[in-house]
Assembly symmetry: C3
Homo-oligomer: 172 residues x 3
C-alpha cells in the first residue's frame, strides 16, 4: 500500500479521517471498486460485440451497422434482425452487475466510516471481486448451474456483511 | 446518535470534516442508505422466490432448478417455462429501486458536503425510506393506483430537494 | 468557485482532506454529478410522459390512467394497450444512463482521492456531462447514427480515464 508523497503519514491519517488514500482500507476499497466498475463497464463493450456478431440491434437508426456487418461479411445470416439470446445474456449479466456492484461500492463507502480492521475489510473486497468475476464467467460460458447462483450469493453476502457494522454504529 | 468512543468529539468533528460518523447527518445518511440498499438487495431474493414459485427462469442452464421444483412438488403446473407476470413485477420493482435508491445515496453524499441542518437532512432521509417501503408494498400487493405513483413521487421529490443546495453552493 | 463562509480556507482544506467543498475539484464533481443525476431522474418523468402519450402502461392497476387519458381525449387510438416503441426508447435510454452516470459518480469519488489537477478533473466532468446530454438528444430525436454511439463513447472514455490514476495509486 503506497502512502502518498507526504512524509508525515500518521498526522495525515488523523487529520484526514477515514476517507483518504492514507487510510489503507479506503485505498483498498478504491482499488477493488474501480476494478469492479471497469468489469461492469466492460459488459457494455461485450454487449456491443455480441450485437455485431449476431446483427441484433434495437433501434431503426442502428440499421447502418447492419449494412456495415453485411459489407464486411460478418453476418451470421438468419440471426440478423431477430432478438438474440447472446445479446440478452450479456444484457442480463450487465443488469445483475448494476444490481450488485453499485450497492457494493455504496455500502463499502459507509463501511469504511465504521473504521473496520484492515484485514477484515480487504477480505470483503477480495471475495466480492472474485465472486463477480466468477459470476460473469459462469454466465457467459455458460457453466452448469449452480455455479452462477453460488458465485452471485458470495458477492451478495459480502455486501450484506458490510452493512451490519454500519447499522450497528448508528441510531436512526 | 452515538458519537463514537472518542472523548473529544468537537475536535474530531472539526478535523474530520463532514464525512465522518462524528457528523450526525453523515451517520444518519449511512444508516438510512444502508437500509434502503438492503431493501433493494432484498428484491433479488424476492425475484428468486417468485421464480421458484412460478417455475419461470431465463437461461437453459437454470433448467436444473425446474427439476428440483418438480421433485419437491412445488410446481404450479402450466406456469412452468412461461414468462411470469409475478417475476416481471418483481424485476420492474427492482429496476425502479435502482433508478431511485442509487441516486438518493449519491445525491445524499454531496448534500452532506453542504453541511445541511441535521433535522432538515433527517427528514429528507426518513421521507425517502418510508416512500420506498410504501412503493414496494403498493407494487407487490398490489394496492390500487395512484398509491404507487404517489409513494414514488415522494421519494423522487426528496432526491431532487437534496440536489438544490449542492447546485446552489458551487459554480460550474 | 465559492469557498464557504470560513475565513481560513487553506487551513480548512488541509484539515478536511480531499472530500470537502473547500476542495474545488470535489465541489466541481458534486455539481456535475448532481446535474447528471438530475438528467437521469428526468428520464423517469420523460417515460411517464411517453406512457401517457401512447397509453402504454405495464401493470393492470395502471388501467385507471388509461381511463383518465380517454376522458381527457389524449388517447392516440390504436396505441392504447400495446407495448410502445417510444416508451421502450425512453426506458433503454434510462438504463443506459444508469450504466454510465452511476459509474461516473462512483469512479469520480475515488478519482478525487488521488488529488488530480483541478483543470484535468474539470475537463473530465465537462466532457462526461456534455456527452450524456448529446447522447440523450441523439437517442430521443433520434439523430442518425453514429451520433449516439460517439457521444456514448466520449462519456465512457471519460469514466475509464478517471479510474487509471486510482488504480495506479494503490496496490491490491
Amino acid at each position: 500500500m503506497q502512502y502518498g508523497s507526504s512524509g508525515n503519514t500518521l498526522n495525515n491519517f488523523i487529520s484526514n479521517g477515514s476517507y483518504s488514500f492514507c487510510n489503507p482500507a479506503f485505498a483498498s476499497l478504491a482499488g477493488y471498486s474501480s476494478l469492479a466498475l471497469l468489469k461492469m463497464l466492460g459488459m457494455s463493450a461485450y454487449t456491443i460485440i455480441q450485437r455485431f456478431r449476431t446483427g441484433s440491434f434495437i433501434t431503426p437508426e442502428d440499421d447502418i451497422y447492419k449494412k456495415i456487418i453485411n459489407q464486411l461479411g460478418l453476418s451470421h445470416g438468419n440471426m440478423v434482425g431477430t432478438k438474440s439470446d447472446l445479446v440478452e445474456r450479456s444484457r442480463e449479466n450487465h443488469l445483475n452487475d448494476l444490481e450488485n456492484i453499485v450497492p457494493f461500492v455504496l455500502a463499502g463507502l459507509f463501511y469504511i466510516g465504521t473504521r473496520p480492521k484492515f484485514d477484515c475489510a480487504l477480505w470483503h473486497f477480495r471475495i466480492f471481486l472474485l465472486s463477480r468475476l466468477l459470476h460473469t464467467i459462469a454466465y457467459q460460458v455458460p457453466l452448469p448451474q449452480p455455479t452462477r447462483t453460488i458465485s452471485w450469493l458470495l458477492g451478495y453476502s459480502s455486501i450484506i456483511s458490510m452493512t451490519i457494522p454500519v447499522l450497528r454504529s448508528i441510531q436512526l
